[in-house]
Symmetry: D4
Subunit: 146 residues, 8 copies
Amino acid sequence: MAFTVYLSGEIHTNWREEIKRGAAAKGLNITFTSAVTDHDASDAAGDHLGPESSSFWRDHKSAKVNAIRTKTLIEQSDLVVVRFGDKYKQWNAAFDAGYCAALGKPYVTLHAEDIIHPLKEVDAAALAWATTTEQVVDILAYVLRD
Amino acid sequence: MAFTVYLSGEIHTNWREEIKRGAAAKGLNITFTSAVTDHDASDAAGDHLGPESSSFWRDHKSAKVNAIRTKTLIEQSDLVVVRFGDKYKQWNAAFDAGYCAALGKPYVTLHAEDIIHPLKEVDAAALAWATTTEQVVDILAYVLRD
Amino acid sequence: MAFTVYLSGEIHTNWREEIKRGAAAKGLNITFTSAVTDHDASDAAGDHLGPESSSFWRDHKSAKVNAIRTKTLIEQSDLVVVRFGDKYKQWNAAFDAGYCAALGKPYVTLHAEDIIHPLKEVDAAALAWATTTEQVVDILAYVLRD
Amino acid sequence: MAFTVYLSGEIHTNWREEIKRGAAAKGLNITFTSAVTDHDASDAAGDHLGPESSSFWRDHKSAKVNAIRTKTLIEQSDLVVVRFGDKYKQWNAAFDAGYCAALGKPYVTLHAEDIIHPLKEVDAAALAWATTTEQVVDILAYVLRD
Amino acid sequence: MAFTVYLSGEIHTNWREEIKRGAAAKGLNITFTSAVTDHDASDAAGDHLGPESSSFWRDHKSAKVNAIRTKTLIEQSDLVVVRFGDKYKQWNAAFDAGYCAALGKPYVTLHAEDIIHPLKEVDAAALAWATTTEQVVDILAYVLRD
Amino acid sequence: MAFTVYLSGEIHTNWREEIKRGAAAKGLNITFTSAVTDHDASDAAGDHLGPESSSFWRDHKSAKVNAIRTKTLIEQSDLVVVRFGDKYKQWNAAFDAGYCAALGKPYVTLHAEDIIHPLKEVDAAALAWATTTEQVVDILAYVLRD
Amino acid sequence: MAFTVYLSGEIHTNWREEIKRGAAAKGLNITFTSAVTDHDASDAAGDHLGPESSSFWRDHKSAKVNAIRTKTLIEQSDLVVVRFGDKYKQWNAAFDAGYCAALGKPYVTLHAEDIIHPLKEVDAAALAWATTTEQVVDILAYVLRD
Amino acid sequence: MAFTVYLSGEIHTNWREEIKRGAAAKGLNITFTSAVTDHDASDAAGDHLGPESSSFWRDHKSAKVNAIRTKTLIEQSDLVVVRFGDKYKQWNAAFDAGYCAALGKPYVTLHAEDIIHPLKEVDAAALAWATTTEQVVDILAYVLRD
């Protein structure tokens, strides 16, 4: 059984690599996808179309260019893992979760206990909440067993 | 011309009242809807179904009971205004925005300039970004003119 | 705020009346709908189209005639309450729940504690689980508050 | 001609193996999928995410983890076979049937004559009712002929 | 309980009037809709847009103008009754039935026994088959009972 | 029979008024809707949200604010009339037609003979092509007859 | 460029073979699919599930078993060719056309000139009308050119 | 990462070849598709089905035959690039953009600065606006990076 899993959210820790390594170690047949996770490149995505003097419009252009990739990959995935770390606002992660919820696309959240309360609406529409990347890998291994 | 506008997000300032008053002052034919904005009642929504010892499950139950209302009202609205204030995580607001984006439901954001960057994905899928409630009312008045 | 609530499942106790009375007592603006709950009439729904010698086809005809009503009313409702009692198979109630789940239509379940385990998949896609009709009314009153 | 067939329902008899063997004996090009059918593992699916003291929430977590697999596989299938045996409530099987009905996904039921009446709504939305696994295989062979 | 019923098919007998009279006699709250049933006016629907020398294009234009009405009314209806008489090809009636089937819109057929075989695919996706207008009215009365 | 008709396209001639007057003269029960047709106000729609130094972003903001209205009204209409005049590019009119085509929303075009060729893709997905406002009114009167 | 083409309708002439041979002669990369076209086998499709004494229910069972195949193949195709010959009612062909129309699935019709009028609604929603299998092959060759 | 990109619009310059060459030079895994871009063949697409004396119907037939190809390819693509040149009306390009917008299919526009204003509605629903084919290739390279 094969799965495509989109990894959404935090880009400042190596949680994506931990999940990929864990899945590989268990021999799972999973294709992992994600947004461009190079922060500077992502912020500059719109610069390929010319410079902007306004920071709002520079961000706007970049976010839309990034959406060409993320929208397609989320819709093509079987499962989305949404990670919330302990820094930054990460509204894009919550946005991806809401996007999945409206599509009926299954997603699981990955976050520590101390942010249960502000994430309650996001968790309420998720199919699972994990606190460690090991748990995510365990769930994937279970879901994909023959 | 009549419109139904769902007001999503921050519940600690009176932005909803400002918009309602502004719309009433201009004689706009708008029905405003929102989640239950009484914070304590909202957190206790699930308690009607019995107590929980785990904070995760208490939040989970309440978030789902609240979703009975919010999911229906968002889907019935013509426009959603999503407000991000200067406090709290407000992931539910970003979740609502993502939900709207996937449904193709028009939404506008309402937030200050200093959070442009973390909200760039949310703003990229919005039909407008306003910084004041007056601007929101002005937009509504324009959109609804005969 | 107005709501349309479809009451699905058990037809051998008066749970529908309890909910309707409770909602009326609280002054809630709710239109309640349901299948035809007269058991004999429901089983004979297809007889209007002529008799059948095979019990399978008699049931088949009746179930389809009933579906003209139930499919439309479920799709027009804002919320479905699915009741599982202590007798009978009630596969139609679970069928309605699955139907709602695929449509993204919010539903809540109403059943006793002793059938938690066999209903776990049905409860997993529900927005709430209630054990008494009072709880259902309380939830409705909360959801519809101004 | 190739088909993907999801086998839903009863996990206490070997009906899935009978269908797979029958299809293989006829050389049919069918990929069979199903939920995890190891009962204990299925009930414990949520334990990978930590223990629960409440049986409701343990079941809830497990049912949702299982849904990651079942929802995706049902949506990817060309046909669903829903089996009702002579034991247990099997509400999850009826739930899957309702889910298919709302999606417009073809399904056939497999059950004995003595439960025709309680399954009439489930059968009414099915494309066929079989009483033996041989009949299911015969239908598959017919449907897939060149 | 109110219903909107679209009456599709044969325009050479007064079956529509029989159903309307029957429903009125029983006090049913039903809005009946249909295509323009004035045969000459229907064939000439496209002439409002100028004459055509080719009979194919004259028919084409008229059929499309008629579709402005029929497509909308079918989609707005709760139930479609599709009538097949003993004359003419009536492919448009079968077309409407297929259209309903793909939309998941409930429909019932109304035709005599002698055309059961050629209508088997049309009947297979219907929720009922009636042979008389009295049966249709009886079904409507049953479906709409309080 | 009542209809909602959205009038899309050219804003430099009085074709909208001609259709409204014609429909009123015939006593048709039609609600007409459209974009804001005051050209200057439409171009300035985004200015309510603050000035822009770049003409691209000014246009962008205004077009999105206008979309709050047009997207909703097109989706709520039963029929769209798309007018192409003899001046300007009118790409927004062709955009609206494509939008309708993808939604399955019926639309008719209104344009002179000399632009048949460049509009062939737009006309191919339309349900009618009219050359005068009188023809549009005639079609509406025909479609809405009792 | 590759295409999947479903061939619907008449099963008493060899039009399917003519199209397949013509497409092969031109080297087109097309997968052709269709219902089971062995008339007797098709009528007996439901017999695999046991005999029926009523001709209506025998036809009903067979038509539904056939729908397992046809519904899936139509939905998986890129184009449907619907053939109307000079014999039989062929309501199933018109039903398939209506099904395609509601799905937004492109289809072309293949029929002689003498049945233009009764097929006008079916042709009105088609993307082409051909009178010979050579024309169908020519269109396919054109559509698939590099 | 692989992508399918549909190239819509202008057929009088070699912008398609420039994008294909640029993507090949960067080793991008992209399948490019488009309408038939041989202008004369495209205008004659309907002639395969017989001659027409009216220019409207000749165009109509050809546009519909072309739609068999374009509708399918647009729906199968991950991204659409819509090109507006400095000649001709190009309403079909704007139509394709509107079609994409309603489907939620990502598209980017490619046009010079001097037509920003008439394209504002088309650009408003796009995920990017490019002025050169080099920019389009740069965006594709960015979007597809590992």
